[in-house]
Symmetry: C2
Subunit: 403 residues, 2 copies
């Protein structure tokens, strides 16, 4: 392990830490002396009472149908690349079904030689694989098109999360049922009351799609599709159908309500982009970010998350001078395909007002665009697929806010 910033403290500012004279050490040791037994062991642990990070409802205030809504992951309160399952963002169209896995079934039918119905026990018996992937709602960043009124990283970028998913490669089941000639799409349908359904090209389904039953080492959480969901690596969250109950092989897309009235991008000329599946390279600084406050001039570590639906994150650059110059951030290993990458850069704040922004380049060479470039290409009528560079403003008093 090498760190270029040895003697970090000396630059942190005078208020940092507390140097001790030898005679004071004894007093300090006594001050931190433990005095009583702790709590006993437990069967299923919980977080500390002092930890209060939570998912936030957006927009605030549930309407007449509290089952239709979305929550954001508090990205500014997470560490590393794994998102705690309890804080994984939600997007539901008819609430969270409470499914008994003993009775759940998956039907595979349509243009297949041998239609099949499978129990969860059947699925668990098949070969499986575990992989770390992010999932991002294509509506993530919808606050960033217009007035940019999201006050923090949770509200601006919190519909993205990253988990270790475990499941059966869909290709195994497609080989098993025998796809008939002419079928080139499938329609995946959830067991939620609204029958959420999306059309997926067969080519992707045979590539790297998982029928996932595991998340971060245990069963999927109910909000994430328990007991079975699709994981379609790198594709907009909505296609990763949760509570999966049915896969139907078809000639062409089904044009479900979820891919016509929703999840299309309205362009300036009045046409709509459809089936814009792939998540493009994106990043956000989570510290310092909106709502946080720096305690004074000195050294800090800027950190954040970067991801791309097209593969590995190749580079993250950070600018602390309004985009004039860019420095390459360090990225924690391992850098995984279609997963969050955690970037970090030491930064000395001189106490003057400043803006901070990050720019991600993925392994295909694609570079995250500015907001201006994105709007020039797509206009401002679309709610979806906003992957623009995010800028935070640091005021002289250390307060961080939307720029």
């Amino acid at each position: 392990m090498s760190h270029s910033n040895r003697r970090w403290f000396l630059r942190l500012g005078a208020a940092f830490g507390a140097a001790l004279t030898a005679c004071k050490q004894k007093a300090v040791v006594e001050e931190i002396e433990p005095s009583s037994l702790g709590k006993p062991i437990s069967a299923y642990g919980e977080r500390s009472q002092y930890e209060q990070a939570k998912r936030l409802l957006m927009p605030a205030g549930l309407g007449k149908s509290p089952e239709i809504g979305s929550t954001r992951t508090p990205l500014q309160d997470t560490y590393g690349i794994i998102t705690p399952s309890s804080l994984h963002f939600e997007r539901h169209h008819a609430g969270v079904p409470q499914i008994d896995p003993a009775t759940h079934k998956l039907l595979i039918h349509g243009m297949v030689e041998r239609p099949l119905i499978l129990t969860m026990a059947d699925i668990h018996r098949l070969p499986s694989v575990s992989r770390i992937h992010f999932v991002e709602c294509s509506g993530n960043g919808s606050t960033e098109w217009g007035e940019k009124n999201a006050p923090d990283a949770q509200r601006s970028h919190g519909m993205a999360a990253c988990s270790e998913w475990t499941g059966v490669p869909l290709s195994i089941l497609l080989a098993e049922v025998g796809v008939k000639p002419g079928a080139s799409w499938l329609v995946a349908e959830g067991a939620d009351a609204c029958r959420m359904a999306r059309s997926i090209p067969l080519k992707k389904a045979n590539d790297d799609v998982l029928l996932a039953f595991g998340q971060n080492g245990e069963a999927l959480r109910p909000e994430q599709g328990y007991p079975l969901r699709l994981i379609i690596p790198g594709w907009e969250g909505n296609t990763n159908v949760k509570w999966l109950r049915r896969i139907r092989l078809v000639v062409e897309p089904d044009m479900t309500k979820d891919e016509t009235s929703k999840y299309t991008d309205l362009m300036p000329d009045g046409t709509a982009r459809q089936f814009t599946f792939e998540v493009e390279a994106k990043s956000v600084i989570t510290f310092p970010s909106g709502g946080q406050k720096l305690s004074g001039p000195g050294m800090y570590e800027i950190t954040g998350l970067a991801w791309s639906g097209r593969g590995r994150v190749d580079r993250v650059e950070v600018s602390t001078d309004g985009g004039e110059t860019w420095q390459t951030a360090r990225i924690d290993e391992p850098r995984l395909r279609i997963a969050f990458s955690r970037f970090r850069l030491p930064w000395k704040w001189d106490g003057q007002p400043v803006t901070l922004q990050s720019r991600c380049t993925d392994e295909t060479g694609y570079v995250q665009p500015t907001r201006e470039a994105l709007i020039a290409a797509r206009g401002m009528n679309s709610n979806y697929h906003n992957n623009a560079i995010k800028i935070w403003k640091v005021s002289a008093d250390g307060a961080v806010s939307n720029a």
Copy 2:
């Protein structure tokens, strides 16, 4: 994605799945039709009511001091390589302190130029890094020396778990305080009432040790040392001091009670091995494993976990014929240093009694030993560091038990 075992079903046995005639499909679709709205969004999610995996107290039954004990991770119920924080094994000597991070302090003193005391806010401001590492109690496998009475993988191997840890490299702080010439160890002390303390060589401390505050994306869990612990990659769990409050630089080991009366290996000649820090290569099959039952002859995927404190797992081999022949298992990517590796191997059970065992080789070329070889080298007086090959027995009725 390539899978050598296409047409898996045909070999699974007649009872697998259910083929459907076209006219039956409509009935099945109606049967699985959703009928009602689900639960609304939530701030901090919980697992499904149908999931009941839990940590188990070992040995069963708390004594007069329920704060002294250990629980095991249900390895046979976990997926992938990340252990859910709620199921991470515990080992406490004085219960779980309930520490307010706002008042917690870390003192670094002893043979240093500039003794320091740091708050958690100070520590959070320093550069940090996230890495996926296992932690294993050196007592894991203590059931395997003698009568091998652990009926399942949880009780035989469940004092191992793997998390993404986030923290500050200890090397940064050691550079900051200025270690005096002559100091070559440090003593790390916890804030539990028993003052758990271990001596660590300075060389390791300057290599890859973390002052960790993050676990699987959120703050450390209280049972795992909240708000601050050592992560000493690849070294026996007990050295990864939890609730860390004090680091003292010293000339030689402190000979604490935790490294003299405990955590030493009593050898056949009456001497004891001490400071046997490094976890040697080890593996265990988690399916099929003790307490589980196969539903009948046919295809299964054997799966399990392998790890080494010395680096990457290079190879896992599985024998299904009493050790006569060995097949190389597939290992999920990425294969990380000093982390769990998940291995998998397709297997056709013919319905006859059989034994199953796995053997791990790490990147140094070290091969996991048989129980006989381990006992020949170390005798049977030691509770610690049992990394022998684990054998499960499958009976003709499909029941799996200790061999």
